[in-house]
Symmetry: C2
Subunit: 238 residues, 2 copies
Amino acid sequence: MINKKYLVIYNEIAKQIDEKLWEPDQLLPSEHELKEQYNTSRETIRKALNLLSQNGYIQKVRGKGSVVIPRNKYDFPVSGLVSFKELAEKMNNQTKTIVHDVSLIKPNSYLKQQLQLNSKDQVWQVIRVRDLDGGKVILDKDFFNERYVPFLSKEICQDSIYAYLEGEMNLSISFAKKEITVDEPTEEDQQLLDLDGFHNVVVIKNYVYLDDASLFQYTESRHRPDRFRFVDFARRQQ
Amino acid sequence: MINKKYLVIYNEIAKQIDEKLWEPDQLLPSEHELKEQYNTSRETIRKALNLLSQNGYIQKVRGKGSVVIPRNKYDFPVSGLVSFKELAEKMNNQTKTIVHDVSLIKPNSYLKQQLQLNSKDQVWQVIRVRDLDGGKVILDKDFFNERYVPFLSKEICQDSIYAYLEGEMNLSISFAKKEITVDEPTEEDQQLLDLDGFHNVVVIKNYVYLDDASLFQYTESRHRPDRFRFVDFARRQQ
DNA sequence: GAGTGGTCTAGACCACTAT
DNA sequence: TAGTGGTCTAGACCACTCT
């Protein structure tokens, strides 16, 4: 299936670490040994190991080797680009999505700026509320540039939009900028969410880009503060 | 100073993009051209370009070239490992640090767990309040494993602890796990911060590791919600 | 001194985009 | 078809850690 050697090697070792075949704080085999094992060049092994390092599996120590980092299985994959659906499945909770609105609108000036739109571009607006364990705790407002997403429907939004975009529309998401702040609830928040006396909402603004570096989506995800958790893994340069 | 070619090239191009010598959405010179320009091999150029890509400067598009990504100069460097001091300098604000406590303590069981300590290990506890534009809005609680940080003083904590640890102690920080949640204020929060009627604090828990993958610091940074902002840049795998 | 990872090279072939 | 980035190789030298 995958024909990239370094990915095959990365996936194999990552799986072994997940399954604790390598104990935390142990050393992996050296690059030279792995090179022999996988019958490949050292640079290819190094590509795989660098991926493991970037994803928090190992820490490379010069002169010593590659140390396996202690991981909580559920800690890491939360950072980055994660859809509500994936998250819900991971958390194994009772979840429900209520689609309030799916429509093609003329963007106001704020949206125009956020999505870097021309004056005639229209956008798809999707407003959804996420119900977790019987409480409406997340309000998701998605805006898609019509140029990249010509059609949406309530049915698609009920399910996973990303599955549709990537699977059927063949769009390929590559990176996202995220900004997290804590704000006062708006009237909309108060109407659509079960705020239960909370005085703040956590606002996550997401700018999502495609493979060719074009900005195609702006999202605001508004969380009741008790149902918000964000995990990040940061590696210092070099 | 720096004798790594790919870093020199990375820094030079990053600076050029910061200074808008390359316009957003333009293409950089091809890898072949850069290779000639810098009189080096293509793999070295690729290393520099991959760093630029990982740090949100460019997006590489197969068959086309490297597209410069629109950046807000102040957006990006906030993610990852940033000390309060760097942040304060960047934001150019009036800031003040009040050191409430610097002492060597026996860790309670929570700390023991967070820092993965043996039963006889002691920890340095540092409690500081950050005053931004005349309001006490951040409470920083730092805990250092004594094994790695044998000595601290009020003077050191008044300034930048990291400058001391990296400059004088020669410790080298390499990566951190971060967890962000929103909590009720504790009594300590209420006593030490100007909460001004806010009902929540943003809690950032940080686990900081050294070069050799040993955990040496646990930090809780507790922010008044109106003074909190977190920016993240996530690139999808491959 | 032996073994480790970090950097760098010169060249090859492939997949994709433009025209 | 020419030009782009993506992958892979085999080899070299260096800086570091361990004993």
